[in-house]
C-alpha cells in the first residue's frame, strides 16, 4: 500500500518510510503475508544507505503468544499509540529481534539501543547460562537460532533459518512465517547466553520506529571458537565411561543388532543410557533424559549395516542440535563402531554450515530419503556400495560431506593404538589423514 506510506524524518541524514503490508494470498511471498497482526515494511535511511526491515505489530495476538494494542488503528496514530510486542525482521540478514513498545516508544531494555552495547561487556558462555557477577545491572540474554519449516504437506523443500534474542530465554520468532503461515513450525537450534551490563539505554525516541538497532548481538561472532576436533576427541578418549561404552559397542558389532549410548558431561557411566536395537533390523532408538543436555552419542553397526554414518545417523545429530539437547555443539561427538574393525566419530566444526546442511538434507525423513538416493546408493561410487572396500565408502562419505559443505569433521579410530585421526579430502579427491597428537 505505497499510497499509505508514512515518511518520517529526523535531524541529519536519518529518515524512515513505513509501508503498510496487507494480508496476501498464500501464493505470494511469505515475507509479505500477515496473519493476525499489522505489518509494515520499514525503510530506514542511514548515513551508509538504506536498511529494510519488516515490522510485525501484534495488534491481534497470533496464537496468543505475543500481544499488543493501540488506541488508534490507522496510520500514523497506530505507530504513536501502540503498546505491546514488536518483532523486527531485518531482511538483509534474516535476523529477528523482539522489542517491547509502550505508547509508540520502545521501552527501556538492555541490548536494544545502538549505544547500549559495548563489546567488552558481553560474554558468550555457550549453552550454559551463568548468573551476573557482582552487579545488579546485568541482564542475561540468549541469542537463539531457529529452523523454520512447514508441516506436511508443505514442508518440502521450504525452510528458513532465523536468529533472535530473548531475555533469559528463547522466544519463537512468531512474526516470521513461511508459506504455511501460522502452521509454521519453529525448531530451536543452539543458543548462546550473554549478559549486558550497565547503562543499557533504549533510544526511546518516541517515534515508534524501533530506533537505532545497530547494537544487535550477532551469535555468529566467533568469540568462542570451536574446540579443535582432535582436542575434543582426545579429551573424550580419556573418559573411562566413554571407553567402557566404546568397548561394549565394539564387542556388539559381531551380533545382529545395533546398540546405542547417549551420555552427558557427568562422565559417569551411570549417566550413559544404553539402548538395545531390534535384532535383525539396522535400526536403533536412543533414549535419554531430555532435561540433561547431551555431550555425545555412540552406537554400533553390525554386519549388514553401513561402514560409515548413515543419513539417519546424521539426522539424529542434527535433531539433537536443533532440539536444544546438545550441551556444546563444539565438543559434541557422534561415534560409530563398525563390524569391519573401523570406527568413526563425527564432530561439528562449523555450526552454521552444519545447520545449513541439516536444513537442506536432514530436516525431515523425505529429505533424508533424497540424501540417501543421491549418495548412499549400492553402486560403484556410492556410500552404500556393498562390494566396495571400507576405504571406498569412507571416501564417498567424506566427499559427500565436503561437496555439501556440511561443517563436519570425521575422525577415524585406530583400535590397536587407541588413537584418533582426522580425515579430509584434498583437491585431488584423495583422503588425507592427520593423526591427533
Amino acid at each position: 500500500m505505497w499510497q499509505e506510506a508514512l515518511i518520517k524524518t529526523k535531524p541529519g541524514a536519518e529518515g524512515y518510510v513505513f509501508v503498510p503490508v496487507r494480508p496476501q494470498l498464500p501464493s505470494q511471498p511469505y515475507a509479505l503475508q500477515t496473519v493476525g497482526e499489522k505489518r509494515y515494511l520499514r525503510f530506514k535511511r542511514t548515513y551508509s544507505g538504506w536498511e529494510c526491515s519488516l515490522l510485525s505489530f501484534f495488534y491481534r495476538a497470533p496464537q496468543n503468544k505475543l500481544r499488543g494494542s493501540a488506541a488508534t488503528p490507522g496510520m500514523p496514530g497506530f505507530l504513536k499509540t501502540y503498546s505491546g510486542d514488536v518483532l523486527i525482521g531485518y531482511l538483509g540478514t534474516g535476523r529477528v529481534v523482539l522489542y517491547k513498545y509502550k505508547n509508540g516508544s520502545r521501552e527501556h531494555t538492555y541490548g536494544n539501543g545502538g549505544t547500549s552495547l559495548r563489546p567488552g561487556q558481553r560474554t558468550l558462555t555457550g549453552n550454559t547460562a551463568s548468573s551476573p557477577q557482582g552487579t545488579t545491572q546485568c541482564v542475561e540474554y540468549r541469542a537463539c537460532s531457529w529452523l523454520l519449516t512447514c508441516p506436511r504437506p508443505y514442508s518440502f523443500p521450504e525452510f528458513q533459518i532465523v536468529h533472535n534474542d530473548g531475555e533469559g530465554t528463547c522466544i519463537e520468532p512468531w512474526g516470521t512465517t513461511l508459506s504455511c503461515g501460522t502452521e509454521t513450525v519453529y525448531h530451536l537450534g543452539a543458543w548462546n547466553t550473554y549478559r549486558l551490563c550497565d547503562g543499557g539505554e533504549g533510544d526511546g525516541d518516541g517515534d515508534g520506529d524501533g530506533g537505532d538497532d545497530n547494537g544487535d548481538i550477532d551469535p555468529d561472532d566467533d568469540n568462542n571458537p570451536p574446540l579443535p576436533p582432535c582436542e575434543g576427541m582426545n579429551a573424550q578418549n580419556q573418559i573411562p565411561a566413554f571407553k567402557a561404552a566404546q568397548n561394549e559397542l565394539i564387542a556388539k558389532t559381531s551380533g545382529n543388532a545395533e546398540y546405542s549410548y547417549a551420555f552427558n558431561d557427568k562422565h559417569d557411566f551411570s549417566t550413559y543410557v544404553g539402548t538395545p536395537g531390534i535384532p535383525g533390523k539396522p535400526v536403533v532408538s536412543m533414549i535419554y533424559d531430555k532435561s540433561i543436555p547431551l555431550d555425545g552419542i555412540s552406537h554400533n553397526h553390525y554386519v549388514e549395516c553401513l561402514d560409515v554414518h548413515s543419513g539417519g545417523d546424521l539426522k539424529a545429530m542434527f535433531d539433537i542440535m536443533k532440539d536444544g539437547h546438545m550441551r556444546d555443539d563444539k565438543a559434541f561427538t557422534s561415534s560409530l563402531f563398525t563390524q569391519n574393525g573401523v570406527d568413526y566419530s563425527i564432530m561439528i566444526t562449523n555450526y552454521n554450515q552444519f545447520l545449513n546442511f541439516g536444513s537442506i538434507w536432514l530436516h525431515d525423513v523425505d529429505a533424508v530419503i533424497s540424501l540417501e538416493n543421491l549418495y548412499y546408493y549400492d553402486r560403484p561410487g556410492g556410500i552404500g556400495y556393498k562390494n566396495s572396500a571400507v576405504s571406498a565408502s569412507e571416501k564417498a562419505f567424506l566427499s559427500m560431506l565436503d561437496q555439501n559443505g556440511a561443517g563436519i569433521t570425521i575422525l577415524k579410530h585406530d583400535r590397536a593404538a587407541d588413537t584418533w585421526t582426522t580425515l579430509s579430502v584434498n583437491d585431488q579427491n584423495e583422503v588425507v589423514s592427520t593423526p591427533c597428537l
Partner: protein
C-alpha cells in the same frame, strides 16, 4: 507505475522459475562414467491382489525433479494405495500434483531391472527401503520387498516396527 513495475518483477521471476524447471536435469552420480539407465520397464500401473486386499502402485518419471539442494535430477516417482478388507488404509493418489511430497516412493534409477526406492509409510510416518525387481523374461511381473532402511535412529521414542503395507508382494502390470 508501481503496479507495472511489480507486474514486471512477477513476470521475470515466473519466467526464470519456468526456465529453471525446463532445463536439463543434472546427471546424478552412480553411473560409473556411463549414462544412468532409464529403467523404463518399471513405468506404469501395477497391482497386487490377495482376496479383497489390493496394493496399487503407479510409477512415473520426472526428468527434472528438484532435490532439497535445488538441483534437478531425473527420477522415478511412485504413488500407492493399500486397500485391506475393502477399506482404504492409506493412499497418495489424491494428493495434489502441486503438493510437495505427493509421492510415496522415489529413486534415481541406477540399474535397468532393479530399483531401490525410498518409501514413505503414510500412516506410520516412517521411511522404508523398497527393492523392486523385474525379470526381463517376465516384464509384466514385478517383485516388491520393503525393508527397514539402514541406519534409522529414533530419539526418545521406541522404534515403530513394521509397515502398513505388505512387505513382500508380486505385482502384475495393469494394462
Amino acid at each position: 507505475m508501481k503496479n507495472i513495475l511489480l507486474l514486471t518483477l512477477v513476470l521475470v521471476l515466473s519466467t526464470n522459475s519456468l526456465a529453471q524447471r525446463n532445463s536439463a536435469a543434472k546427471a546424478a552420480p552412480g553411473g560409473g562414467g556411463q549414462a544412468l539407465p532409464l529403467a523404463s520397464a518399471f513405468l506404469g500401473t501395477w497391482e497386487w491382489h490377495s482376496g479383497t486386499d489390493v496394493f496399487r502402485l503407479v510409477l512415473t518419471r520426472d526428468t527434472s525433479y528438484p532435490f532439497p539442494n535445488g538441483v534437478l535430477y531425473s527420477v522415478i516417482l511412485g504413488r500407492h494405495s493399500y486397500v485391506k478388507n475393502g477399506v482404504v488404509i492409506e493412499e497418495t493418489f489424491t494428493k495434489s500434483p502441486n503438493t510437495p511430497q505427493a509421492w510415496s516412493l522415489l529413486t534415481i534409477p541406477r540399474e535397468e531391472w532393479r530399483l531401490f526406492m525410498g518409501f514413505m509409510d503414510q500412516k506410520k510416518d516412517k521411511r522404508g527401503k523398497a527393492e523392486i525387481i523385474i525379470d526381463p523374461a517376465t516384464p509384466n511381473q514385478m517383485s516388491f520387498s520393503l525393508k527397514e532402511p539402514t541406519g534409522t535412529v529414533s530419539l526418545n521414542t521406541e522404534y515403530v516396527r513394521g509397515f502398513t503395507v505388505p512387505t513382500t508382494m508380486t505385482l502384475t502390470r495393469v494394462p
